[in-house]
Structure formats: structure tokens, C-alpha cells
């Protein structure tokens, strides 16, 4: 065991070193650094030097809301195929690029072979230390990078001990990278990620295979109650809005190879990138990494590009709708809701604090108390908002034994109606604030959690001190604010109710 003196020293060192928290007991500022690169990409960084690792997320406005009608699933298919191979390319000579080697290092590192794959078959990439008097060498190599198929990529990532992924949600197409910061590994991980982001191979055989797998998965999903009700609910809440698009065999078969290429070309554009980073890198290193990650995309100014077409807002519901789906399952599934709010909605804070009380707060929410704790009708009941660029749904969900469906639905509806009509009590609001404010540190106590928050700031153009003011925003919410915000946002008399598998 460390003696006390040494222990304090170690602690002080660690606390200072982290950069996550400057003071032990205060909700200290989270220093978010932000800058715009020459190519227009916006970079957001939180330095977190305690662990020799880096997490990166790059978001583009290329989520499924931009799927053309009849081609639902295009964004997620595109992201999927982006992981399955990179094409051969001729490397351009570029400006000198700083490496991630710590400043003060004297050696120029050559990228070294990382294993059995042909990943490193190209010429070694020159890299230079950013400062500290180390040698600088022009990156003049011009040569060919060989194509890598999905297996060569899998091996390369494995050999680097790094993880790379692409995915699409309703709003964003996202790339994520997690790597150790050992410069020999990180530089290669960044170089490989840059190729995957910009130079996908879209191999036809893989595309055909993935289509087959998706089709089989779709057919299976039609037998799963949760999937069936999810689709029906989504359509009822969102109508013709892209948030309600669902992939089907028909939309899948209408997606052509050229659609994937077009979606990538239109969506993955350097000047529109939002790059979030958390890890053991300095600002100079982060700047270099961000530049290299996008270096293989065309460096075109957004001003010279046509603007992305606007996407319509989600239409409000005019009247209540109840759908009953005949389905034999162990439990009945219930979803109740309506379009909720955009992330930019000024009622955001009253609504998330209110929803904690209504149905977000696990054990201590009203819905859990009434449906589960008092009556034992369900294992899980909850309510949620899904704010996005458009009004994502407000949804109450529960499952229950088929013969008690009517009772559970009636209670859940009553709880929502009461809450919208009367709002929370002062005691409930205090309990919510105690948890949300008191537990704030738990939302940012790892690099991974910080990255999610940082990407949220980046994507939603939130102020850089958003995390520093979050608890204040929660604190100032009043009972009246919540009541008014819920009254503006939710209309229980116009909600959709979908019930699947109730006993008749």
C-alpha cells in the first residue's frame, strides 16, 4: 500500500494529468477546444491524457433522413459497405504532415509493417514531429496504395489493435476510430481510416451478399413482435416523413450500386465534417490527425458546393389513432406516442427533466411506480424523447402478459394525461434535480462518454461551455416550466397507440 504522502502525490499527478477535471470536488470546467480546418471541417477536442488511447467520431449530414423515397435503408447500406474494402489509389504528394509523435522526439518514424496483410504494401508514409526541433521531412512519396478487401481490412485493424466503424442513424452518417496513441500504431490507424472514409471499393460481390443477408434478416424480423410493432408505430407517428421510412425487400432491391456511390459522394464531404476527439493527444496532434483523416476526400469549399436539399419537418398528428396488430407472442407490446421535439427546441431542458419524472428515471419514475411497482404488470415501462434535426418521437413503451394489456394501457395513458395536465410536484422536481445534477459527473467520467457528449455539441452547434452550464440549465427548470413545456409539446388526445398481441 502506498504511504499517505506518496499517495497524495500520485493523486495530484493523476488529477492534473487528466484534464478531465481540474478540481476534485467541483464540477469543473470541461475544456472543449474547437477550431475549423482549412478544408472547412470543424474539430472539437477534449484532451484526456491519462490513458494512452484516442477516440474519434466524424459525423456527416448523410443519415437515413436523406434516403430517397423508395430507397429506405440506403444510408445504412452505404455505411455497411464502406467497411468492406478500399480501392487502389494513387497517393498525391501533399504538404508535410505532423505525426502524433510526442513533441521533442527526435526520430522520424517510418510506418512499419503491421503484420501479414498487404495493408502496408504502399510506400512508407513520411511523418514528422510537430515541434521540438525534430527532423522535418517533406512528404513527397507518390505511389500506389493497393486495394484492400474486407479481410485485409479486418486483419489490418486487428494487427493495429485499433477499431474502426461506420454507421448511419436518422440524422448522421458516422465514422468512429479507437486507437492506442503509440505513434507507430496511431499514424497507421489514421492513414487506414482515411482510406476507408474516402476510397471505398463498393465491391459488387460483397454488396450482393450483404443484400442477401439483409433480406433474410428482414424476413426474420417480421416474426419478431418488437420489430413488427416498431415498424407500425414509426409509420403511424411519422407518416411520410423520412424518420418513418422502413427498409423492406422492395426498397432494398431498388437500391442500385450507383446509389451507394452517390450517397457516399454527396454525403461524405470534408468541408461538412464534424470531428470530435477525446484522448491523449495535444491540439497540434489532433489538428494533424483531423487533417489526415479527411485528406483523401476532395478538399472543396462548401461555398462552392450546392447546398444540401432541405428535409421537411415532421407533421403533427391531427387525431388519435389506435392500431391493433394480431400476433401470438408471450407478451403484448404497447407503444404510445406522437412526434416530440427537435433538438433545437427551446423546451429541451424542461422536457428532459420532466421526462425523468414521468418515465425516464428508471425505478423512481411515475410510470414505473404505477405500472410495475404498484401492480406488477410489467418488467419494463418507460417514456422517452428522441430529439433530432427534426421532431423525433415521444414514446411510452411497455410489455405485459397478453390478458392484462387493457389495464396496462389504461394506466399508462392515465399517467401521461395527468402529467401533461398537472406537471410534477415540487418534491418530484427536487428529486429529479438531485439525481440529474448530483449525478452529472457520471455522464462524463470516461473518454467514451465524453466523446458522445462532445459529438452532440459538435452536431447540434451547442455552445462550447454546454457541459459546464448543463447543471445550471437543469437547476433553473421550474414546475411551471415543465407543465408549460409538456402542454406545448404533447397532446395525449392525439397520440398514436399501437398494441400488438393483446389477448382478445
Amino acid at each position: 500500500m502506498l504511504n499517505a504522502t506518496k499517495n497524495i502525490a500520485v493523486r495530484a499527478l493523476l488529477v492534473c494529468a487528466t484534464g478531465l477535471f481540474y478540481h476534485f470536488n467541483a464540477l469543473a470546467a470541461i475544456p472543449v477546444q474547437h477550431w475549423t480546418q482549412a478544408n472547412g471541417a470543424k474539430v472539437y477536442l477534449v484532451e484526456s491524457p491519462a490513458i494512452a488511447m484516442l477516440d474519434v467520431q466524424i459525423d456527416f449530414d448523410a443519415g437515413s433522413r436523406r434516403d430517397p423515397p423508395g430507397k429506405a435503408g440506403l444510408a445504412s447500406m452505404t455505411a455497411n459497405i464502406l467497411e468492406k474494402g478500399v480501392r487502389a489509389s494513387v497517393r498525391r504528394a501533399g504538404p508535410p504532415q505532423a505525426s502524433t509523435a510526442p513533441s521533442g522526439g527526435s526520430a522520424v518514424r517510418e510506418a512499419t509493417s503491421v503484420g501479414a496483410s498487404d495493408f502496408s504494401a504502399g510506400p512508407p508514409q513520411a511523418s514528422t514531429a510537430p515541434s521540438g526541433g525534430s527532423a522535418v521531412r517533406e512528404a513527397t512519396s507518390v505511389g500506389a496504395d493497393v486495394a484492400l478487401d474486407e479481410n485485409a481490412l479486418g486483419e489490418a485493424w486487428a494487427d493495429l489493435g485499433a477499431q474502426f466503424g461506420a454507421g448511419a442513424s436518422a440524422d448522421r452518417m458516422s465514422f468512429t476510430l479507437r486507437s492506442l496513441t503509440d505513434p507507430a500504431l496511431l499514424d497507421q490507424a489514421v492513414a487506414l481510416a482515411a482510406r476507408q472514409i474516402a476510397e471505398p471499393a463498393f465491391p459488387d460481390a460483397v454488396w450482393q451478399r450483404e443484400r442477401q443477408r439483409l433480406e433474410a434478416g428482414l424476413k426474420e424480423s417480421y416474426t419478431r413482435p418488437g420489430s413488427v410493432i416498431g415498424r407500425a408505430y414509426s409509420q403511424a407517428v411519422y407518416g411520410s416523413h423520412p424518420y418513418g421510412y422502413e427498409m423492406t425487400e422492395a426498397t432494398l432491391s431498388s437500391i442500385a450500386f450507383a446509389d451507394l456511390q452517390a450517397a457516399h459522394a454527396a454525403g461524405v464531404v470534408a468541408c461538412r465534417a464534424r470531428i470530435s476527439m477525446v484522448g491523449a493527444v495535444t491540439r497540434a496532434q489532433a489538428d494533424s490527425i483531423a487533417a489526415r483523416l479527411l485528406s483523401r476526400l476532395p478538399q472543396v469549399a462548401c461555398a462552392s458546393l450546392p447546398p444540401l436539399p432541405p428535409v421537411a419537418e415532421v407533421a403533427r398528428l391531427e387525431q388519435a389513432q389506435e392500431k391493433s396488430i394480431d400476433f401470438k407472442s408471450a407478451q403484448a407490446h404497447v407503444l404510445i406516442g406522437q412526434p416530440g421535439i427537435r433538438r433545437a427546441d427551446p423546451d429541451y431542458f424542461p422536457l428532459i427533466v420532466g421526462n425523468y419524472i414521468l418515465g425516464g428515471g428508471g425505478f423512481v419514475s411515475r410510470l414505473t411506480n404505477e405500472v410495475r411497482e404498484k401492480r406488477g404488470l410489467t418488467y419494463g415501462v418507460s417514456s422517452s424523447f428522441s430529439p433530432g434535426l427534426h421532431a423525433g418521437s415521444f414514446t411510452v413503451g411497455l410489455q405485459t402478459r397478453p390478458d392484462q394489456t387493457a389495464q396496462a394501457v389504461q394506466i399508462a395513458r392515465q399517467v401521461v394525461r395527468d402529467f401533461v395536465a398537472s406537471g410534477p410536484t415540487e418534491a418530484e422536481l427536487k428529486a429529479a434535480k438531485d439525481n440529474l445534477v448530483g449525478g452529472f459527473a457520471l455522464r462524463i467520467d470516461s473518454n467514451r462518454k465524453l466523446l458522445g457528449n462532445l459529438a452532440g455539441i459538435a452536431w447540434n452547434d451547442l455552445p462550447l461551455d454546454y457541459l459546464d452550464t448543463w447543471t445550471r440549465q437543469v437547476e433553473k427548470v421550474t414546475v411551471d416550466d415543465i407543465r408549460a413545456a409538456f402542454a406545448r409539446t404533447l397532446q395525449p388526445e392525439k397520440m398514436v397507440t399501437v398494441i400488438l398481441g393483446a389477448a382478445s
Binding site: 502506498l2 489493435g161 466503424g165 418488467y379
Partner: protein, 495 residues
């Protein structure tokens, strides 16, 4: 699990994206083969035992002002007896229903008021309770947890409501899922004497028949200090945790840990098969092979120390490497051969391999897969075993071996990012009787596994006689099948 895992507010401070394609945060976790990961000096871990026999494990990590507090009890579904399956898990639920000082539901309200998040979990081997809290609130959750560990108390009406919640949990997590139902029944076929044959959540008829007295007796019997460990990780000091542990847990009277019967699984001598029909579109096949496990004593001892189980423990490590070579990273052998159809026909839409490695009971090596359109489960099962046979015949490449050995090194660094997962690993190792630094020891030994050893276990453990072959036979939805009903009428509190 006491309630479905979810954060009270989205885990970020922003609403989640509506849908993210599963797998966006990808598969394999791998790394540099050199010491780069291990060079991250892991914070010191301390373990000590209170006078009443309770173990305390502390891992200070001052990166953020938060802490994880966990209570692990070395009792799980495997300690139950026939007719009372599920009681360990029901008890886990009832532990939220109060003590003589804290009324039902109050535990959760107080933890919430502290800014904390909490839950609990039950497995075959253990039961665990945890709170994630601002570090300054540690004392309050230690007081609450020690109180319910020693003084859990609730009336029959609470039980009557909560048992219905547990039945809903069984419906939701098992009965609603054809594959979960298949696993449940496959375990019952795979094991005869081992308690692993019973489902953790319990058979429905056992839940129907369970009484409050069953639950209280299980609690009285197993929740004794010498059968439990408190794990605290995060922005805490060892001396502080020691003081609080003495203060709140130290006064709980010592009682003997009940004797455990071995209930050893008899050697299997012949293939077992299970067909399971359920509403589904895709079929599915899984093969379970009985394999040796790492014996804790062998991991405590220096490498190469002779013991009756040393050879078997060594084989368990080789089986771990085998699973990783087959399915440890994107584009590993199973994916290439079965899903991509490299060098032949594509037979599967997915395929996997995993190895049990450690556990209080017998361990299995699992192979499984979903047939591609037009292919059969038999073809998938054959293809899976052909991949094992190929390794038995030709071994694995140095590149593969090196690649999979680097996985654990990188994961050692990445896991430092989460105080909670560090606490979970420490608790889980304690349950198994493993040393505190078990994962580093495992990695060090995995590094020494040779291609010949991997080839050896591939040749030895995959004959049919030690296998259970379980097949999901998909059925079209039957419009006439009645939904499952409760076997006994329930009252529900209708007011």
C-alpha cells in the same frame, strides 16, 4: 436483473440518434503485441478481509470524481435445487423491497437522490448489486448496501407483486425469443447433474410455485459475510474504503458459508441432439462441446507449476486462442469460410465461436450459425466442424496466432476507460477464486500458447461424443396458438 438496463436520461446529454445500425461500434478488440498496453501502469489494487469474513477489494482511479460500489455474493442459480429454480434471481429483486429501517422502494429513491445509478444482476455463478455515484457519496451507498445485505425484510404482499414482475421478465427475455428458448432447453440437455441445466430466471412453474419463505430461506442461507465481496473502484482511497467497510459491513455477524455439494457432471459418452420448433423465419444451429476450464489454483501458481489440473488449464487457454482464431476479428476463419464462402459455397449468414474458459461449473466451447438462404443447419454444422478439422490437421498460422494474442493487450488499455468495468472484472474474478491480477496473468500465459497447442485441442475436443447439437426449426406463425397464460390466477392491485 432488477430492471431493464437503461440510463435515466440518454447516456449522453443529448437524445440518442433514433436508430443506429447495430455493429457500428464494431467487432474485434485487438492490439499491439508488445508491451505498450501493459506499460499503462494500472492503479494499485488492494484486497483485505474483515473479521467477519467479508472480502473488500479497492481500486483507486482518480481520473474522474466518480466511483463504482459493488456487492458480490458467491451464490447464483447454480446453488439452487430442483423445484426452486429462479430463487437467487427473485431474491435479487426482493433486495430492493426494504429493510427494517428502509421501506420498499426507498433504496432506489435514496440512490437516485445521491445522483446515483444502480442495478443488480444474477448469473449462474453469482449475484451482484451496484451503484455508480459521485465519489463523495460513497459512504451513503455503503451504508444502504450493508443494511440490505444484513437486514433485508419485506412482507408477503411485496413478494406477490414482484414475482409477477419476474414472470414478465421471463416472458420478455426468454419466452419472446426463439433462440433464448433454444438455449434454455439446450442447457437442460447438455447437463444432467450440473445445476447449469436449469435456467437462471427459473422455470415458469417454479416461479408460479415459489413462496416468500423460499426466498427468505435462500437469503438467510447464502447472504453471509464470508460469501460476499465489496468492490469499490474510482476516486477513493484504500484507507477510506477500509474505514467505511469496517464501519458498515464490519458489524455484520459472521456465519459459516453453507457446504456446497459438487454435483459433478458425469462424462458424456455420445452425442445429444435437441430440435426446437418456434415461430421464426431463419433456422439456427448451435453445437456445445464439453471442454476443460482454467482452474483458479493454476492461475495463482507460477507458470509451469505441476498440479493435477495444470494440463487441463493449459488446454483451456489453447481453446481460448482457438475461438479467437475462428471468430476473434472481422474476417476471421468462420466469417471467411461460411459467410463469405471463400474457396467454396456460402452456407451461412452468420457464424460464431466462443470458449467458456472460467466458471464455477463445467465449461463449454460453442459453435453456432444461421444458414444462408437455401442452406440447411446440417450444412452449417458440417462447415463449422470442418473449420475445426482444418486446424486439427494443419494448425494455425503464426500471423493468426500473433494477431489474436495482441487482442488482450489492447483491451487491457481500453478497459481502463471505464471504472465500472474494472470493478466488474475484479468482482467476477473474486467469485471465481482467481487472483486480483487474473487478467494480466491470463494474457501473459495466452502469449505463450503455441500453434501446436491450438492444433492439439482442435484435434482433441470436437468429437461427437461430447457434443450437444441444438437446432431451431422455424415454423410459420400459428394463428390458432393460444398465448401463454399464467398457470395461477393473479390478483394485481386494481384499487
Amino acid at each position: 436483473m432488477k430492471h431493464p438496463m437503461r440510463a435515466p436520461v440518454p447516456p449522453t446529454l443529448f437524445a440518442p440518434a433514433r436508430r443506429t445500425r447495430a455493429g457500428m461500434v464494431f467487432g474485434a478488440v485487438l492490439a499491439c503485441a508488445n508491451a505498450c498496453a501493459l506499460a499503462q501502469s494500472a492503479p494499485q489494487v488492494e484486497q483485505f478481509t474483515l473479521a467477519n469474513g467479508l472480502t473488500v477489494i479497492v481500486k483507486p482511479d482518480h481520473r474522474a470524481p466518480t466511483a463504482a460500489h459493488m456487492l458480490w455474493v458467491r451464490v447464483g442459480a447454480m446453488d439452487e435445487v430442483d423445484g426452486a429454480s429462479g430463487v437467487a434471481h427473485v431474491l435479487e429483486h426482493m433486495m430492493f423491497k426494504g429493510t427494517k429501517d428502509v421501506k420498499a422502494g426507498e433504496f432506489s429513491r435514496r440512490v437516485a437522490a445521491l445522483g446515483g445509478q444502480e442495478n443488480a444482476f444474477t448469473s449462474s455463478d453469482n449475484t451482484g448489486y451496484y451503484q455508480q455515484i459521485p465519489a463523495g457519496r460513497l459512504e451513503e451507498v455503503m451504508r444502504l448496501e450493508a443494511d440490505r445485505f444484513a437486514n433485508s425484510q419485506w412482507d408477503d404482499a411485496e413478494f406477490k407483486r414482484e414475482i409477477e414482475v419476474v414472470k414478465e421478465e421471463r416472458r420478455q427475455r426468454t419466452e419472446e425469443s426463439p433462440r433464448a428458448m433454444l438455449y434454455e432447453q439446450a442447457a437442460a440437455v447438455t447437463f444432467l447433474a450440473s445445476p447449469y441445466r436449469r435456467p437462471i430466471v427459473g422455470w415458469m412453474s417454479d416461479l408460479d410455485a415459489m413462496t416468500p419463505a423460499d426466498v427468505r430461506a435462500f437469503y438467510q442461507r447464502w447472504y453471509v459475510p464470508a460469501n460476499a465481496a465489496v468492490v469499490v473502484a474510482g476516486d477513493v482511497e484504500v484507507a477510506q474504503v477500509r474505514r467505511l467497510a469496517e464501519k458498515y459491513y464490519g458489524g455484520i455477524p459472521a456465519r459459516p458459508v453453507p457446504e456446497r455439494k459438487p454435483r459433478s457432471e458425469p462424462e458424456q459418452a455420445g452425442q445429444r441432439t435437441l430440435d426446437f420448433k418456434a415461430t421464426a423465419s431463419q433456422s439456427y444451429v448451435s453445437m456445445a462441446f464439453k471442454v476443460p476450464k482454467v482452474e483458479p489454483a493454476d492461475l495463482h501458481a507460477a507458470p509451469g507449476t505441476p498440479s493435477p489440473t495444470a494440463a487441463a488449464s493449459r488446454e483451456a487457454l489453447a481453446l481460448t486462442v482457438l475461438a479467437a482464431v475462428l471468430d476473434g476479428y472481422s474476417g476471421a476463419r468462420l466469417d471467411r469460410a461460411l459467410v463469405q464462402g471463400q474457396g467454396g459455397e456460402r452456407v451461412a449468414d452468420s457464424a460464431g465461436a466462443s470458449s467458456g474458459r472460467v466458471g464455477r461449473g463445467p465449461q463449454l466451447f460453442m459453435l453456432d450459425g444461421v444458414p444462408a438462404a437455401g442452406k440447411t443447419t446440417l450444412q452449417v454444422a458440417d462447415a463449422l466442424r470442418r473449420q475445426i478439422a482444418a486446424i486439427a490437421q494443419s494448425g494455425v498460422s503464426d500471423a493468426e496466432l500473433k494477431r489474436v494474442k495482441t487482442q488482450w493487450a489492447a483491451s487491457e488499455t481500453y478497459k481502463l476507460d471505464s471504472v465500472f468495468s474494472q470493478a466488474r472484472e475484479l468482482g467476477s474474478n473474486w467469485v471465481q477464486g482467481l487472483p486480483l491480477d487474473a487478467s494480466m496473468r491470463l494474457i501473459a500465459r495466452l502469449r505463450t500458447v503455441t500453434a501446436a497447442e491450438v492444433q492439439g485441442v482442435a484435434a482433441k475436443y470436437f468429437g461427437g461424443d461430447q457434443m450437444t447439437l441444438a437446432t431451431l426449426l422455424p415454423q410459420p406463425a400459428d394463428p390458432n396458438r393460444a398465448p401463454r397464460r399464467a398457470a395461477v390466477p393473479t390478483t394485481g392491485d386494481l384499487r
